[in-house]
């Protein structure tokens, strides 16, 4: 390739591009002669100037940001699904404005065409009755939902979102590989890619005059607002309906909900009453006007659609039919994704639009048509065979990669079920440069373009999600197959005025409660996020101390140390643990500590607490700020580091504990400072306070309820103070006086010590007073009563009496009794809150399990 700039040294130029040899297809960057295309020149010059070392730095920065923002994509199938960081390549995909303008009109036409097709397929069905579309093409596809067909009614449910996967053939002509109309994903990832790349390559981005993405999302908001059925409410309530954290693109659901300012909900957060959809919030039911659907439509309503679905909202179809709620995309839109439709599109464009189809599809044959089936069977080795729907349990296959036996098997399969298969020509997809750490390498690329309906027609996101294969010969490029994504720059001829939703987003990110709408499920998860975080922190301090004793030998062999170990078991409830172990055996102690820390299968282990914490935190990710996410990822890292410690080396955990405790403390600080004091925060902090009070009282019970067998209690005292993180305060105040009463005063009664029981109770009472009223159930008063009783008990505690030991046994009976009451009331308080706010009435279930009928 030729260099335009004179400033760069030939060496660095060669090092970036020497290996760049496109694999015999159209290349986006280089023309057939190997010259860099004009619209890539500026970028390439800049990259060459940076050189591989600098590029590596920026690439690592890209990864770091993705990791810190916890941009993830869930993979199915591996160990029951795992979360992986989203992969983003440093080099953007560049599209010049002329090329883009052509694409844009083609995409808009296609969206309009699919919209008209949708209206007919679920309305008059003229295309079927006039013989244009074979009925079995539709009815053999699981996306054609018969209950959504309403021949008698003029349907006005518009196709709102449309995405197309685009590839370029050998000649550089763009064609559509597949249409996405169900619940197209990727626009949020595209946005996040843009945010990261524009930060990592700021001046390049600025000077390249790239079209901004914000206008697309503004149109999304405007369009969804306009879909709200007319009502008395001034502002429409719009929710984003997600299948939940297990979904592959859950990150994006939470991300978009925040960015757009919608409440992220799961099916169980919604209920249908009076033919309307309601959001179950802490305050009661709130009407929902528009549902942005990220769940496949067949799962949306177990009454009329898939009866085995527990993800959906029973009665939703009826509410839609009554015109009281709009769903985008409309239920039933999945049929438009059938690749069997592709070959009919040119004819449909002429019929429905009176136009020629501008953007061709990859040539496709549907095996349901006898003639086409013959062609497919005769030319298998030149084709890619795909199912018409992913539910058919069949992965795309390249005919030429099959053995003769496999090919015969595939033929038999097609002949047995021809309606379910299509074949596409093998397209030599175009290639794009990817930075592999040293130089640029060509990779096959697919561009997903996004469209949203607007008042007259459709608008195309100026950009999109480019994905490339992870290796040179990878021809199926999907995120599930481990592909890498790229930012996509549509280059403007003129610099563009900057518009962004980020101003609005600043509010939206931390205040998704702008309608005060907190689903009970969210409050539940916030509460437990608080409880698990606190439990992990408290237990970590305890375990760190135990390990320190073991390592230094300090206190080893003392009764105080034995008691500390027993309290490890009691605090974590990892029975029988140290209760059954002989004392004074450091080896056995190390093994047991290893189990308590690292054993994932052991109930109560630190590892389990941490993974519960991560799970609940991830399920409320839309409620937590991105800074908080950074900390949560640190906690995840530390948790993995602990987990990887070998059984014999548990002492190594000491280093990790320092980091872990720092991260957990940072989490607690951030949640205190960085979350708006909305309802959901209240539940998080309440969970934390209840857990802390419970942990403190358990610790006091196991360490101090008896002085029997302890000659010197100073070690016990210091241990307790270390674990509750109050040692410094104590020393500052009391110097070296080894007084149990003074210590109990600090840990139980001192309202100024944020680690005292009294302090927790004050916070709990404040939270309880701020809870939404649930007087109709009577539960509120139960919560209030428990909080008041417990707080009073703590406030009235008489430290001198509690410290008294009985002469004969050495036990502190009053302290034991006092802690016993706390150990009963705090869980009762937690349960009362659960009963009043979290429990979603009853689970809905089918009246008739299909096939248990009453018929003769």
């Amino acid at each position: 390739m030729k260099q335009k700039s004179t400033e760069i040294t030939p060496d660095s130029a060669r090092s970036l591009c020497t290996d760049y040899i496109p694999p015999g297809c159209h290349d986006e960057m280089c023309d057939p002669a190997g010259e860099v295309r004009p619209h890539w020149l500026y970028l390439m010059e800049a990259l060459e100037q940076m050189g591989p070392v600098e590029l590596r730095k920026r690439r690592d920065e890209t990864w770091r940001q993705m990791r810190e923002n916890d941009v993830t994509y869930n993979f199915y199938g591996e160990r029951g699904g795992t979360t992986r960081p989203w992969k983003l390549d440093l080099i953007p995909h560049l599209l010049e404005s002329d090329t883009w303008a052509g694409l844009e009109s083609g995409l808009m036409q296609r969206a309009e065409l699919l919209n008209l097709l949708l209206q007919d397929l679920y309305g008059p069905r003229k295309l079927v009755s006039q013989g244009v579309l074979p009925p079995e093409l539709l009815h053999s596809h699981p996306g054609y939902l018969i209950p959504c067909i309403n021949p008698g009614m003029a349907i006005s449910s518009q196709l709102v979102f449309y995405a197309a996967d685009l590839v370029r053939d050998r000649n550089g002509e763009t064609c559509v590989l597949s249409d996405r109309t169900q619940a197209p994903s990727g626009s949020g990832y595209a946005l996040e890619n843009r945010i990261v790349i524009s930060r990592v390559l700021p001046s390049l981005f600025r000077d390249s005059h790239t079209h901004r993405l914000a206008s697309y999302f503004r149109t999304v908001r405007h369009t969804l607002d306009s879909h709200a059925p007319s009502s008395d409410e001034k502002e429409a309530t719009i929710v984003l309906l997600s299948p939940g954290p297990a979904n592959e693109s859950y990150f994006e659901h939470a991300y978009l909900a925040n960015y757009l300012g919608y409440t992220l909900v799961e099916g169980s957060d919604l209920v249908v009453r009076e033919e309307r959809v309601w959001l179950k919030t802490l305050e009661g039911l709130r009407p929902v006007h528009v549902i942005l659907r990220r769940m496949d439509d067949s799962y949306c309503d177990p009454v009329e659609l898939r009866e085995d679905s527990y993800l959906g909202v029973p009665g939703l179809m009826n509410a839609v039919r009554a015109g009281n709620v709009a769903v985008a995309n409309p239920l039933g839109s999945g049929i438009l994704e059938s690749p069997a439709l592709l070959r009919y599109l040119p004819e449909l464009a002429r019929l429905l639009l009176g136009q020629e189809l501008m953007l061709p599809s990859v040539e496709t044959w549907w095996c349901g048509d006898p003639l086409e089936r013959q062609h497919v069977l005769a030319n298998l080795e030149n084709l890619v065979i795909k199912p018409v729907h992913q539910s058919m349990g069949f992965r795309s296959r390249f005919g030429d990669e099959l053995s003769t036996a496999d090919r015969e098997e595939l033929k038999a399969r097609i002949q047995a079920n021809p309606l379910h298969y299509i074949a596409q020509e093998r397209l030599p997809m175009s290639s794009l440069p990817v930075f592999d750490g040293d130089s640029l390498k060509p990779r096959h690329a697919v561009l997903r373009a996004f469209l949203v309906a607007e008042e007259h027609g459709y608008m195309v996101m100026p950009g999109g999600l480019t994905r490339v294969g992870s290796s040179n010969d990878q021809l199926i490029v999907t995120s599930q197959a481990g592909g890498i994504s790229k930012d996509t720059w549509v280059l403007a001829t003129e610099p563009e005025k900057q518009v962004s939703l980020l101003g609005e987003r600043q509010h939206a990110v931390y205040v998704p409660e702008r309608h005060g709408a907190v689903p009970g499920r969210v409050a539940d998860n916030m509460f437990w996020t608080g409880r698990y975080a606190e439990r992990a922190e408290f237990v970590s301090r305890l375990l760190r101390l135990a390990l320190q004793f073991l390592e230094t030998g300090e206190g080893a062999g003392t009764q105080a140390f034995d008691r500390l170990l027993v309290s490890v078991t009691k605090q974590t409830m990892t029975w029988p643990g140290f209760l059954n172990l002989p004392t004074g055996d450091p080896e056995a102690a190390r093994n047991e500590l290893y189990r308590v820390i690292c054993d994932r299968s052991s109930s109560g282990s630190l590892m389990q607490t941490l993974s519960s914490f991560l799970r609940t935190a991830r399920s409320v990710r839309d409620r937590l700020s991105s800074d908080t996410w950074r900390i949560i990822n640190d906690i995840d890292d530390e948790s993995n580091a602990l987990y990887n410690i070998k059984p014999g080396n548990i002492i190594d955990a000491l280093d990790e504990f320092d980091n872990l405790i720092t991260a957990l403390t940072a989490f607690s600080g951030l949640t205190l400072e960085n979350i708006t004091r909305g309802r959901s925060w209240r539940f998080l902090d309440m969970g934390r306070r209840i857990e802390r009070a419970l942990q403190i009282s358990r610790l006091l019970e196991s360490m101090l309820s008896t002085s029997h067998g302890i000659d010197d209690e100073s070690l016990l005292r210091d241990s307790v103070l270390t674990i509750v993180d109050s040692l410094m305060t104590y020393r500052r105040r009391y110097r070296e006086d080894a007084e149990i009463p003074l210590m109990l005063d600090l840990v139980i009664c001192d309202e100024n010590n944020p680690r005292s029981l009294a302090y927790q109770m004050t916070r709990i009472e404040e939270h309880v007073a701020g809870l939404p009223d649930k007087r109709d159930t009577g539960s509120r008063s139960e919560i209030e009563r428990l909080a008041l009783e417990t707080a009073t008990l703590v406030r009235l505690a008489d430290i001198n009496r509690l410290s008294t030991t009985t002469k004969q046994t050495g036990s502190r009976e009053l302290l034991h009794e006092f802690l016993g009451v706390l150990a009963g009331r705090l869980p009762a308080l937690s349960n009362a809150i659960t009963a009043a706010y979290f429990q979603a009435a009853e689970m809905p279930h089918q009246l008739v399990r299909l096939r248990s009928g009453e018929d003769s």
Partner: protein, 290 residues
Amino acid sequence: MRYRVTHSTTYDYSSNVSLCHNVARLLVRNTRQQRCLSSALHIEPQPSSVNEWTDLFGNRQVNFSIEKPHNRLVVRATSEVELETGAALDMLFPVSWESAAEMMKTEKDTDTLEARLYLLRTDFTEAGPAVVEYAQSSFPAGRSLIEGVEDLMHRINRDFTYDPGFSTIATPLQDVIAHRRGVCQDFAHLAIACLRSMGLAARYVSGYIETLPPEGKEKLVGVDASHAWFSIYVPQRGWMDFDPTNARIPLDQHITTAWGRDYADVAPLKGVVYGGGKHRLGVAVNVERL
């Protein structure tokens, strides 16, 4: 011939249901031989919403919801229908079953196009090798379509034992064919699976038969609840019903409620309930001549 049909369904729950959303296909539709004079649902407790609409198959679907706590649900459908006995179909359609199957592919009239939906397999009509084999002996080469279907109906009636204790709706067709037992639903599904495996369009019909026939006429099987039979699409003629449970062509004793690809499309009453615990189901059907 005029009939009055009452069909009552009662669910008794062991604990309260706080909310339910239901779909009923209990209202009687019009057909070529049948005129619905009146058809109404009585639901207890009072539903908060009731909506009737027509589904793809032309059936009358009623969605209703009950939003107050209840431990008993009663749905009673009362209908009066008139059957036109004179409208017997042309039984002498001479076309072979092969030509009929071919016509399903080639004819482009609206009726045939609409009927092609009923060529497709469904969960309830999955045709294993045993089904295909069973079907084939009724359709030797060149036999007329109607003769073949009639033969199939008679064979099912002869080969299979009507046994309400044997099958539930969950019993797959393979079991039915292996044990040669079942109820009207199974026989209808079996016939449909057989016909579809031969490339013919067949649909599932749900309805009732007369409870107590006039003196001198035999009492039919399947009177205590809703009944089921099948219908075959005869190209250029239309749909023709067959009742394999009673080995007869329905004429003036079969009242049609709804039809579809299989039972799942026409389940008389289904729904989703919140709460309710266990339930006890009671069904009573009465069909009387007026």
